[in-house]
Symmetry: C2
Subunit: 311 residues, 2 copies
C-alpha cells in the first residue's frame, strides 16, 4: 500500500517527519534538529524538501504540519481556535501554505483559552499538543498530561473535544535553573537518584506555595552535603514536578479516577511524572509514542485531504 500523508511535527527545536499509508500506519520516519528557531532565513520549504524531497516525488502525498511551525515565529501564523474545540472543527480551519511546485502544506491551528474564574484570570495557548491528544482518541472526561518544556494538562470532552487545558513552566524552569542559576553550580553528573527525586516531590506536594523558597534548598542541600552533587539535579526535578502536580490536580476535576489520567511524552520523563503522581495518590498510564502523526492523519482525513481506506 502506498504512502498517502506526510505528517510533520515541527517544534521549536526539532522537526519529525512521518510518512503514513492510507490506513494511517507509519511507513517511515525521519528526524532533524531543524526546529523553527534553527532554520536560516526562515526558509522552511528548503528544510522540508531537503529532509523529505524524495518522498514527495509522489505528488499524491498530502502534507500536514503541527506545532510551533504555525506560530508567529514559524512559517505562517495559523490562528488559534478557542477551546472547547473538536478535531472535526480544527480540520475545517487548517491554514494553507502554497509551495513553489503548486503543492500545499496544511497547518494545524493552535488552541487558546481565556479563563476568568475566581482564582486565576489568564490566557493559555498550545501548539502541537492538541494534535497528539487527537491521535490518542481518548474517552470523554479523560485528563492527559504532556510533560515537557511547557508541560500541558488537558481535559477532554465529547467527540475528542479539548475542553480545558493549562500550562506549567516545569521543563523550562528546570533548564534555566540548572544552566543559568546558582542551583546548577554544585550539580555533578551521575546516576539518577530516585531518593532525591522523591524527597523533592514530597516537599512541594506538602507546600506547593513555597516553591520559590524550597528551590533555594537545592543550593543548601549541596552546601551542607545533605544530598550528593550527582543527585541535586533529581532533587530539583522533584521539587518542580511536585509543585506542578500539587497545583494541577485540584484544577483538573478534583482527583481523577484511578487509571483515568494519561501521560504522553518521552518515556523517562513520563516515568518521573507517574512517580510524582503516585506520591500524590493518583495513578497514571503512559500512552504509546507516535501520537502526533496519528493525530495529523485523523485531521487530514476529517479535512478531506486523504481518503481513509478501511481494512
Amino acid at each position: 500500500m502506498g504512502a498517502s500523508l506526510l505528517a510533520l511535527d515541527w517544534g521549536t527545536t526539532n522537526l519529525r517527519a512521518v510518512l503514513l499509508d492510507q490506513r494511517g500506519r507509519p511507513l517511515a520516519e525521519r528526524h532533524q534538529a531543524a526546529g523553527i528557531l534553527q532554520v536560516p532565513d526562515r526558509n522552511f520549504e528548503q528544510v522540508l524538501l531537503s529532509l523529505c524531497g524524495d518522498w514527495l516525488q509522489d505528488r499524491s502525498i498530502a502534507i500536514i504540519a503541527s506545532g510551533m511551525i504555525g506560530s508567529r515565529q514559524g512559517w505562517v501564523e495559523a490562528p488559534y481556535l478557542t477551546a472547547p474545540i473538536t478535531p472535526t472543527a480544527a480540520a475545517q480551519a487548517l491554514t494553507r501554505i502554497p509551495l513553489q511546485d503548486d503543492r500545499t502544506v496544511y497547518l494545524v491551528p493552535g488552541v487558546s483559552r481565556a479563563v476568568l474564574d475566581s482564582v486565576d484570570h489568564i490566557d493559555d495557548v498550545m501548539r502541537g499538543e492538541e494534535t497528539q491528544v487527537w491521535g490518542a482518541d481518548l474517552e470523554p472526561g479523560s485528563i492527559v498530561v504532556l510533560p515537557g518544556t511547557h508541560s500541558k494538562w488537558i481535559q477532554c470532552g465529547a467527540a475528542g473535544s479539548i475542553d480545558h487545558f493549562r500550562t506549567w513552566m516545569t521543563g523550562e524552569l528546570f533548564a534555566v535553573l540548572s544552566q543559568h542559576s546558582i542551583l546548577g553550580r554544585l550539580m555533578e553528573p551521575g546516576d539518577p537518584s530516585e531518593e532525591a527525586f522523591t524527597l523533592g516531590v514530597q516537599r512541594t506536594l506538602a507546600a506547593p506555595e513555597a516553591l520559590s523558597t524550597l528551590l533555594f534548598s537545592v543550593r543548601t542541600a549541596g552546601l551542607m552535603s545533605r544530598i550528593a552533587p550527582s543527585a541535586l539535579s533529581d532533587y530539583l526535578s522533584g521539587l518542580l514536578i511536585g509543585a506542578e502536580v500539587a497545583s494541577a490536580l485540584p484544577r483538573f476535576s478534583a482527583q481523577p479516577e484511578a487509571g483515568q489520567l494519561q501521560l504522553i511524552g518521552e518515556p523517562s520523563l513520563c516515568n518521573r511524572y507517574a512517580r510524582a503522581l503516585a506520591l500524590a495518590g493518583v495513578k497514571a498510564e503512559s500512552l504509546a509514542p507516535g501520537l502526533a502523526a496519528r493525530g495529523a492523519w485523523r485531521l487530514a482525513c476529517a479535512a478531506g485531504l486523504i481518503s481513509e481506506i478501511s481494512i
Copy 2:
C-alpha cells in the same frame, strides 16, 4: 577624629568599602565591581590594597569584612554559626586572615539553620545580611525583609539575636527568566507599570501554589496583547514578589503588627516589596542605607578590634 575601621561589604558581584571614625560614623566610601567571582586568581589582597591602600597607610585602622567573601568561593571559608545567634557571639567567632604586612582582615561568619518542622525540612544560609541586620539594631520580635537576588526574611530576638530566617529565590528567578527563558522574548524596555506589577502580585497572592503555571501567563499576556511589552517585566516581578510574600507571611509569626515589618535594601526594590506587602494587608517601612558598615562597626567593637568613643 581619625579613622578607626575599614568595613568591607564584599559580595558576589560588588565590593563596597566604608571608612568609619571611632564613633562609627562614615568618613568615606568606595565601590568596585570586584565581587568574589570577578577577582583574578582569587587575589583578594591585591584588590583590597588597590582600592583602599591609601587609607591603610594608617596602621591603626582595623579591617573587617562581611558577605560572600567568607564563602567557600571567597578568600577563606568562615564557618557558619547556627541560628539563633547574637552579634556578641558572632564577634567572638571572627575568622582571621593574615596579610603580607602582618595586618589582619577579620571575616564575619555566615549564619545557618536547619529546620525540621512539619512542612519543610531544609537548611538555609546567609552571608552578609546578618551584618546589615545587626547594623539596624532592631527590637526583639522584629521581622526584616532583605529583597535581592536571594531575598531573606529574618526574625530577631533578644540582644540582636537572629532567631529564624529563610531565603526566597525571587531576584535570581526574575533574572534567569527574563534573560534566558521564553518569558523574556516579548519583553521591551519602557516606563515602570504599577498596574502590571499589581496584577502580578494579586494573582500569586490569591494562588501562590500556582506560581509555575502563572509564570506562563507572562508569555500569553504578551501573545494576546493583554499586557504591553514594556509592562511584562513588571508583571513578572509582581508574580514572583507576590508568591514570596504569600508564602513568607505565614512562616513569620502570623501577620506581624503594623509597622513591625522592616525592609533593608535598594530603595526602588524595597518600594516594590512595600507595595506587595500592602496588597497583602501588611505595612512595612524601609530602613536607611549604610547598615552593613554600621553592623561591621558594632561587631568590631564587640570583638575588641576598636574602642568605641562615646560622645
